[in-house]
Amino acid sequence: MKAGSNKYTTSEKKPTAFGTILRQASVPLMFIIICAFCIPIAGLSPSYLANEIVTRMGRNSFLILSLLIPIMAGMGLNFGMTLGAMAGEIGLILVSDWQIVGIPGMVLAAIISVPISILLGIFCGKILNKAKGREMITSYIMSFFINGIYQLVVLYLMGSVIPIKHSSIKLPRGYGIRNTVSLLNMRQKLDNLIAINVSGIKIPVMTFIVIGILCLFIIWFRKTKLGQDMRAVGQDMEVARDAGIDVERTRIISIVMSTVLAGIGMIIYLQNMGNIATYSSHSQIGMFCIAALLVGGASVDRASIGNVFLGVILFHTMFIVAPRAGAYITGDSMIGEYFRVFVSYAVITLALVMYETNKRRAKSESSRELRAQQDADEANAAGKENV
């Protein structure tokens, strides 16, 4: 009854708390072991590795942070963050056609992406409200569905309906966007705005400041009325409804916020990459952000900012070293590539299984309690009659 009965308080009774902590820590621990095993084999220089990890932290943290709010509202892992990523890409494509460069370009792309994200988020939230209890699979299919719409817009409407001027981003046939859109004049502009070099490791301070602001926002948001409502909805929808919270609206808001943040996160991600793979940049983003969050020790119903950063570090360390280590062990570089893909999926699977088993256990415990209670009541009543 203790294991999963309460989602936000970990400290109940000593032994269970320890068990919970152990279970929570199992995935990060496993990853620490994998990394500890692979790093020496991969034989990468420490400064290269540190550089890569810092870069990837700057690149991915914002995106992963966007997943926290729906988890708070009890909607599970938001596979629909891809929707925001697509909105961000549309913003960037338009901005690069208008030749708005550098930081202003990023800001403008973000401003364009926000209304698109809000619309997509409302749509997604409404659909998810109709599929309560199946949010994750629904948001997952949703990401495919909107990907179809995105392709329709980018591949057929851009250039024919939405004006696109530059032939450098337009397909030769006259409409549609090329497979790759260069963001050369925006590349790492945010990262380099304030960048300091600590013993050969480039630290994109400005990007981290932006991420820090988002963290502060999330911490603040948790304490607001809306944030409290979300947590209440996440704990128990019925109780929240009885307490006068508009459950549907709260859930939609949480998805909208997540989508908007994912859109901005995607812009930060792509400015670091320096180009957009128009039809594939977003397709895997949801998957590896979720995997990273779970690697950091989060679960489907509980995630903190600490999980995000631990997750980025561990997941991406594995990501960097696995191909090299795999190549060294088996003599085939593809093994490592497949290994890291496998690990990402396996981690998500494991986290989902743990979540569902915990939920079931909690549920059967509570129903057993209820039954015991009823039996006791009946026995009491019978006893009274007898007397």
Binding site: V101, L108, M273, Q284
Partner: protein
């Protein structure tokens, strides 16, 4: 009452966002500026190319131009400031000029002819638009820049 204030507040926020967007449009417009050190003719008069021109933009030396050379720089915003260090003849003492100009919004690529610029001619003389020559198109340009994508899983998922 409260809802009215809320609407006002929202309209204000929207206005601010639109304003920011407008500002971004102006200050973020990127141009590619090309500098030509070429002998040019304007109204029948010839303007001789300099022996050597060193172009500095934002404290960074972007190009050293001999005769008939072209250099380029990417800029942001409508105001463009550059420092030209000009050597007229071989062996002569270089003299430095600070030139600022405003760039036309509509042009992506702008060619500036330095001899005409230094002669103090009007903008339509020294400034012209750079038109990208249509490149032969190949339909399959898929793999381009693929290795840049460090985070891709290399899975061709397309459902």
């Amino acid at each position: 009452m409260r809802s009215k204030r809320q609407i006002l507040f929202r309209a204000g926020a929207l206005l601010i966002v639109l304003l920011i967007a407008a500002v971004m449009f102006i200050i973020g417009r990127g141009h590619t500026v090309y500098f030509d050190n070429k002998t040019a003719e304007y109204n029948g008069q010839e303007y001789e190319a300099f022996h050597k021109v060193v172009v500095t933009v934002d404290g960074e030396q972007v190009s050293k131009l001999g005769k008939r050379d072209r250099g380029m720089a990417d800029t942001m915003g409508q105001n463009f400031v550059m420092t030209l260090e000009i050597t007229d003849e071989k062996g002569a003492q270089p003299h430095s000029h600070k030139v600022s100009m405003s760039l036309p919004y509509s042009m992506d690529g702008i060619i500036i002819n330095i001899p005409e610029l230094m002669a103090g001619l009007p903008a339509d003389a020294y400034l012209s638009e750079f038109v990208v020559a249509p490149v032969e198109e190949t339909e399959s340009e898929t793999a381009e820049g693929e290795d840049e994508l460090g985070d891709e899983f290399g899975i061709g998922g397309d459902v």
